[in-house]
């Protein structure tokens, strides 16, 4: 065998040549043949760039950037009155005051921590690195204790029948689901066979739901997936159909969050033209509520919580490394606010009456905050 360096070079170069041959054989892959954006200018530019990149030319033919790039109108959906949220409100209030900088205790957070979830009145922080994940349990201001290792990349978690169920993927199984028992045993659960990916998870009225993506069979050449939703039956997954005229996401869009709204299931989805909340009306239909009617593809929903009678959805923008809070009391009118000092928000978890927020600061280190009357403050408290 050659040196490792020359093997990597040969592998990457040969693989790229093979791909280029495929691309130049059929331009339809980049244009009509896929579920492209509902933005004709973007589709044209992208198709041009993909093709020209493949043949090594930069002589671009670009449309006027002042042309209207407003996406086409989506389907009109009848919206029912919003449901009442049943979770009791927390008595503390958020003010504009926030703290800056990381708490001393942030040193206890693993650098790759990216998920926060409540389990048996304990805050669980999950880190993922190189295809493995570790669950860290916190108790008070004691540094997190390493509890469980999972062979895969965990994306989200929720409690179901006293176990912590996790979704994500591993290198061999692809989409993956795990159930962690109270004794910290880890059980591999088969993901829905038709799922390309799974992520959002929630337990609603003793039923566990997961969401993800399924292949777009009408466009088999496309990498885009259609939204998928499954219910755990106790022995397997039962897929629930989603009306594609309601769940009509554009390119790279899909479901981001599942939310228990009382005894009803709510879903948050986003794509290039906006973000929406979908609330279950009955087993057949959903109401659709617009959260933000603009591009959120560089800022997508990552977490939610209820506070003071309001629903709050957190959208994080990897590009600007900043996050936005969308807050609504009636699920119709959404107010946008920011907390720049928090950095990039990764997840939010409620443990009892307390809310915890996991964030990444500019330098890449992680910080944990809790919601106090004065706003989000570092957790554990800084010792002076």
């Amino acid at each position: 065998m050659s040196s490792l360096k020359s093997q990597i070079a040969e592998y990457m170069a040969t693989s790229e040549i093979t791909l280029t041959e495929i691309e130049t054989r059929g331009p339809e892959r980049s244009t009509e043949g896929r579920a492209w954006w509902r933005n004709p200018i973007a589709a044209f530019v992208s198709a041009t760039i993909v093709t020209l990149a493949a043949i090594g030319s930069v002589a671009l033919m670009l449309p006027d950037r002042t042309e209207d790039v407003t996406p086409t109108q989506g389907p009109v959906v009848t919206t029912l009155p919003p449901p009442t949220m049943t979770r009791p409100a927390v008595t503390s209030t958020t003010s504009a005051t926030t703290t800056t900088g990381s708490p001393d205790g942030a040193a206890w957070l693993e650098p790759n921590a990216h998920v926060a979830v409540e389990w048996a009145t304990t805050l669980v922080l999950i880190e993922a690195d190189s295809g493995r994940s570790t669950l860290w349990l916190t108790a008070g201001d004691v540094p997190p204790q390493r509890a469980v290792d999972v062979a895969g990349t965990v994306m989200a978690g929720a409690v179901y029948e006293d176990s912590l169920w996790l979704t994500g993927f591993d290198d061999t199984r692809g989409p993956a689901v795990w159930a962690v028992g109270g004794d910290h045993s880890v059980r591999n659960v088969s993901a829905p066979p038709e799922a390309v990916w799974v992520g959002p998870i929630a337990t609603v009225a003793d039923t566990m739901w997961i969401a993800g993506g399924v292949p777009d069979t009408a466009h088999p050449e496309s990498d885009d997936t259609l939204p998928g939703l499954w219910r755990w039956t106790g022995s397997g997954w039962e897929r629930r159909g989603l009306d594609t005229s309601v769940f009509d996401f554009g390119h790279l869009g899909g479901l981001d969050l599942l939310i228990p709204l009382g005894d009803r299931l709510a879903l948050v989805g986003s794509d290039r033209s906006g973000a929406w909340l979908f609330v279950e009306i009955n087993s057949e239909s959903w109401s659709r509520h617009e959260i933000v009617p603009r591009e959120v593809v560089v800022g997508f929903p990552v977490a939610w919580y209820e506070h003071d009678g309001s629903m709050v959805i957190v959208s994080s923008d990897l590009l600007e490394r900043a996050s936005v809070f969308w807050t609504s009391q009636d699920l119709e009118a959404w107010r946008e606010s920011t907390e720049p000092s928090l950095g990039l928000i990764l997840d939010v978890a409620r443990v009892g009456d307390d809310l915890y927020l996991l964030a990444e600061e500019a330098a890449g280190n992680k910080a944990l905050y809790t919601l106090a009357e004065s706003g989000w403050v570092p957790w554990p408290p800084t010792s002076d």
Partner: protein, 155 residues
């Protein structure tokens, strides 16, 4: 045939594309695999065209576009990185376990290893593109190579 003169914006965009298309595409290919990486790069250039006025003011447009590509690729973070198998006929010198070993590196390790070793990208350029220090590039490179060697040796 009459040809319309190119506007300054188009000229500027073409220059930007000529300077940064290859390194940007390679960085995203290293992160997400050949197909997804190329598509993320295309998405980033679409964004660049739509936001060119903002992009032209930036000191490190390639680094910014790299983050745009990362952001566009968010859905792909939910599944394993897709790297094609080794076809022994066309790559006789390559260890068949290499794609799997590359896949199991952390994203930063894989990017640095591929950019430095497959594409001979200068260390400083890798650092600027990924938004990390040159010393961190060295750290990721050393750890990534050590993991690869260990895994290929075990196989």
């Amino acid at each position: 045939m009459k040809t319309e003169p190119m506007s300054p914006a188009v000229q500027g965009f073409e220059a930007l594309f000529a300077a940064h298309e290859i390194p940007l595409r390679r960085a995203l290919v290293a992160a997400y695999g050949h197909e997804d990486g190329r598509e993320a790069a295309a998405e980033a250039w679409v964004w660049a065209w739509e936001h060119y006025d903002r992009l032209r003011e930036l000191e490190n447009p390639a680094g910014y576009l790299y983050r745009v590509g990362q952001s566009k690729a968010r859905k792909w973070l939910r599944r394993p990185v897709r790297l094609p198998d080794v076809e022994t006929a066309s790559m006789p010198s390559v260890e068949p376990k290499l794609p799997g070993a590359l896949r199991r590196l952390s994203m930063k390790q894989r990017q640095v290893v591929v950019l430095r070793h497959a594409y001979d990208t200068p260390r400083r350029e890798v650092a600027e593109l990924l938004g990390i220090s040159p010393a961190t590039v060295d750290t990721h490179l050393a750890r990534g190579l050590a993991k690869l060697r260990a895994e290929l040796r075990e196989s």
